[in-house]
């Protein structure tokens, strides 16, 4: 992940000006060890399946990524023009670390992976703009038996 100190001053100021609302409580809990957890990846990289409709320039929607998707099945329609995409272009795992997660499962360090993963498009909206989609997604994750989520902010 890029450090704020490494960004151009304009980009740094833009990100620091983003509202970051505090949680009203502390919902994080200690659960079972990773080896017994089922993990889903939720990224804001604006990933869609190739051929699906791209994200709109401003969108609080999410898209479904089937767990068996390979790298060439996904494309990025993130609307921001201000971040470097070369890492993602070389390796999908930079924004959606599915291969690393599969390796952890194979090594027995992670219990299992969800049947579905999800992508939002992390530009143009404040955090509140994603709340409806995030609440809907939480229900889907519970139905998939997910008890761990790896958030990949892009």
């Amino acid at each position: 992940m890029v450090r704020l100190s490494d960004l151009e001053p304009g980009d740094r100021a833009h990100l620091l000006a983003k509202p970051c609302p505090p949680f009203a409580n502390s919902p994080f809990v200690i659960g079972p060890p990773l080896a017994r957890r089922r993990l889903a990846i939720v990224t804001t990289a604006g990933l869609t399946r190739r051929g699906d409709d791209p994200f709109a320039l401003s969108s609080g929607e999410y898209r479904v990524i089937p767990g068996d998707s390979d790298g060439n099945a996904l494309v990025m329609s993130h609307s921001s023009v201000n971040f470097d995409r070369t890492g993602y272009q070389q390796d999908l795992n930079v924004v959606f670390p599915i291969d690393r997660a599969r390796e952890l499962v194979a090594a027995g360090e992670l219990g299992s992976l969800a049947d579905f993963h999800y992508s939002f498009m992390g530009a143009s909206l404040d955090a509140d703009g994603y709340e409806a989609g995030a609440r809907e997604l939480a229900g889907l994750l519970r139905r998939d038996g997910v008890d761990a989520v790896l958030l990949s902010p892009v």
Binding site: G10, D11, P54, N82, T86, Q89
Partner: protein
């Protein structure tokens, strides 16, 4: 690593630049020629990685180049992606073409890093010149979608100094 390898490494340019375009007065033709010149490297990149991040429009890079050139000439090209508005088509076309350029550049010898690829793209390519010309042409477009993309989603903030106001 041998001394010779060190010496050679020091001499390798991170990106092999295409020859200077022979169409200095025709940005569309220069773009088309440049896209064609990068095709072997793009194909190599695909073979090596088994994937491509090009594919938002569903159109091949040469068709995207023609589409952008038509727009730059004041035309109204048919949508690259059916059902998408003109502004959305512009955004998707630009991202697809940049991905094509980046993948081709990174496949070349020297393992260009992100900064080198960005410098090459914005300093050297006809594609960047077309993007900048489109920004100038469309930033006051009567089409709200084209206007929004031209102003907010075409030129990165760190490259804004290149925009001619």
């Amino acid at each position: 690593m041998s001394a010779l390898a060190h010496f050679i490494e020091d001499l390798v340019c991170p990106v092999s630049f295409p020859a200077a375009p022979a169409h200095a007065d025709d940005p569309g033709a220069a773009l088309a020629a440049e896209v064609a010149s990068l095709a072997p490297w793009y194909a190599f990149a695909q073979r090596r990685s088994g994937r491509t991040t090009v594919g938002l429009t569903g159109a091949p890079p040469d068709a995207i180049a023609v589409w952008l050139a038509t727009l730059l000439q004041g035309g109204t090209p048919a949508a690259l992606r059916g059902g998408a508005a003109a502004g959305d088509n512009l955004k998707l076309a630009v991202e697809d073409l940049k991905a094509y350029y980046h993948e081709a550049a990174m496949a070349q010898p020297g393992a260009a890093d992100a900064a080198a690829v960005a410098r090459w793209f914005w300093d050297q390519t006809s594609a960047a010149r077309v993007f900048l010309a489109l920004e100038a042409l469309l930033r006051d477009s009567p089409d709200a979608g084209l206007r929004r993309v031209a102003r907010e989603y075409l030129i990165p903030r760190v490259q804004a100094h290149r925009v001619d106001r």
